[in-house]
Amino acid sequence: MTGFPSLLHSDDEQQLRETVRRQLAARADWSSVLRRVEADDPYDADTWRTLAAQTGAAGLPVPEELGGAGASWRETAVVAEELGRSLAVVPFLGSAVLATAALLHAGESELLPQVAGGERTAVLAVPLSTWPGSSFPTSVSVEGDALTGRVTSVGDAGAADVLLVPAIGPDGPSLWAVEAFEVTPRTSLDMTRPLGDVTLSGSSGRRVAEGAAAEAALQHALMVGAGILASEQLGLAEQCLETTIAYLKERYQFGRPLGSYQALKHRLASLWVEVTRARATARYAAGCLATQDPDTAVAVAVAAAICSDVAVLAAEECVQLHGGLGFTWEHPAHLWLKRAKADQIALGTPDRHRAALADLVDLPLGAG
């Protein structure tokens, strides 16, 4: 009737969500993640393998004939939402979202089955801050099949078996699968999504796409990434809101639970309104991505702009309303805050997405 995709979770999606949540709760609670991060060994390969095996999380939108789960970006968004609630360090965004989207769009069928099955982790070699609509990167050049260059701040680089590298050669842009590369870890604001700088020193690669197809595959991946990231941000915001509500119910000051103070009640209620808004936009973006709806670009820009800011707001309120406790290392609030702030920059700041939207809906900045 309205042309809207369903914004509700189907029973299958609900079941997927519960499975993922159960797994993550059992295997990667925040304190174990913090210990891993402190030990400088953040990646949780076990959990990633288990998730991939039990839910197909490594290749949800990949057709079954290509080794995937034969589901769609909707189910991917469900997993992203749960990963936003958790802090498990798994290369979901880098491999199961960004690289998978690029490979699917490029029609690649050799690497994709391995990635979709979770046997190998592929990572799209762009700075995590790259936004949909930005120009094709020029940091890697290719001659023949040899790639040379350096890509900074690549998300999940430390977990990569294969890199998908956008490169510029004599014939223009192309996209390559490369297995020989060096990763220098960066100290990242978000300790639970470590970044790495990737160096290619004449590594030989396999060309996956070239010319306009390479550009389109990269753009598609960035668009999908921003759209799915909105669900991660939604999950994070929900988790922060719920944690804060629970704390305010149990924490007493001046003989009353903090949650009985009206100023705090109103702030949480306002935050709940924002989270409600974020939820609708994230579901809409995922629904549009799943069906390649013509409204996808608008839906993704709206979701990215809204959910980025709501996640940051929720994490900031979580810190503030936990008082001193929320500012300590031994409470998860700071981990959510760092993830939320990094996610706000990842795949385009809200500002970039609003600017993109202005073009899409014909509301130009300029004086005509």
Binding site: S6, H266, L268, A269, W272, V273, R277, A280, V298
Partner: protein, 405 residues
């Protein structure tokens, strides 16, 4: 909503086909093109096709209310007149469910039919100058005198009072008990002596609303709705229906206030500045997100699992209306300094934002007050949705007459 009365066989197994048969026989016996509008509406009521969820004999068939859409569509297709639901919203949305739930059989028979046909307009006599958000503090006194009640007091924010034949009225009948316990609910005849309706002018210059002064108004006890002292419970039910009605509205992309701003933006490039563009896009995104939120709510309701998102809808609506209408004036610049008309007018319908920039700016200020203030709604969300503790109450156990005010 409660449905009462015996169910017909049709009610036990309602089918679209059966309903359409009933519609066809109504249209056959009362061809819309030939009969008087009111005669048609009365016949429709008597055929049980007014509100099919209501009981048989009271305009309905005692079948699920969702089936009403089938009837409405078929009648509209046949060019039948409707009962102008927008102009009798208070009667349909608030008075009728209350009468159905709490009224006597005589009251239902007397009131519902002319209410539905629009012959008798209803208004709502709830708020008072001293009892706004805290409705239960109201002080309009009703004192029993034999078979009658003598009512004195003042009501406010009463839309349609000047056109109304009846009002739903909450009064204080026992000031010596705590406030929620001493109230009684009436159907108030607006034509009896002592009812004085005066226009209440508002910031926009118009008077959408009225003040109603009640001076020694005598109401028969037969017009009392519900038990003596049970008025708070009856009124709470009435207000539930109001909230549902307000939360259900929606708009297309760039509908409402946003559309007014984007039209100006597109049509008058000379007004554009980077700073206003930034604000415009922020609000565009928020408005679109609210629209999608509304759609999600409707999907939930359609799936039979309404979520608490309804409470968010009004909060989003008033915030957006206010920000966008303010932005529009800044964008318009010189034109934003103008107003169209300060003449005192009495609009026929309540419109929440209007379509003239200055008017919209002012009218939008009412959105966060009318139908539950933003502050009260945030309390409700915090307590009912998030489960946070209620406000500390000092007025629960104090006789109404001893409350500080």
């Amino acid at each position: 909503m409660t449905t009462t009365g015996p169910r017909t066989p049709a009610a036990a197994d309602p089918t679209t086909a059966d309903l359409l048969d009933r519609v066809q026989s109504l249209l056959a016996s009362h061809p819309p093109a030939e009969v008087d509008r009111l005669d048609f509406l009365r016949a429709r009521f008597d055929a049980g096709l007014a509100w099919v969820g209501y009981p048989v004999g009271l305009g309905g068939l005692g079948i699920p209310r969702e089936l009403q859409a089938v009837v409405d569509a078929a009648l509209a297709a046949a060019g039948a007149p409707d009962n102008s639901p927008r102009s009798i919203g208070i009667g349909l949305g608030m008075a009728a469910p209350t009468i159905l739930a709490h009224g006597s059989d005589e009251q239902k028979q007397r009131w519902l039919r002319p209410l539905w046909t629009g012959e008798e307009v209803w208004c709502q006599l709830f708020s008072e100058p001293g009892a706004g958000s805290d409705l239960a503090a109201l002080g309009t006194r009703a004192v029993r005198d034999g078979d009658e009640w003598v009512v004195n007091g003042q009501k406010v924010w009463t839309s349609m009072a000047h056109e109304a034949r009846w009002g739903i009225l909450v009064t204080r009948t026992d000031p010596d008990v705590p406030k929620h316990a001493g109230m009684t609910y009436f159907g108030c005849d607006m034509h009896v002596p002592g009812v004085d309706v005066r226009p209440l002018r508002q910031a926009t210059g118009e008077a959408e609303f009225n003040e109603v002064f009640l001076t020694d108004v005598r109401l028969p006890d037969t017009d009392r709705i519900g038990e003596v002292g049970n008025g708070w419970r009856v009124a709470t039910g009435t207000l539930m229906n109001e909230r549902v009605a307000i939360g259900g509205q929606s708009a297309p992309r760039e509908g409402g206030m946003l559309g007014m701003v984007t039209s100006v933006w597109r049509e008058r490039p000379e007004l554009r500045t980077p700073g206003l563009h930034s604000e415009l896009m922020e609000q565009w995104v928020r408005a679109e997100a609210s629209r999608i939120t509304g759609e999600r709510l409707r999907q939930q309701m359609a799936a039979g699992t309404p979520g608490p998102e309804g409470s968010a809808a009004k909060l989003m609506f008033s915030e957006l209306n206010q920000r966008l209408s303010g932005l529009l004036l800044e964008l318009l610049g010189e034109q934003g300094l103008a107003y169209d008309d300060w003449t005192m007018r009495r609009p026929k319908e309540v419109h929440f934002h209007g379509n003239r920039p200055g008017y919209s700016y002012l009218r939008a200020k009412g959105n966060s007050i009318e139908g539950g203030t933003t502050e009260i709604l945030l309390n409700i969300v915090a307590e009912r949705v998030l489960g946070l503790p209620g406000e500390m109450r000092v007025d629960k156990d104090v006789p109404w007459k001893d409350l500080p005010r």
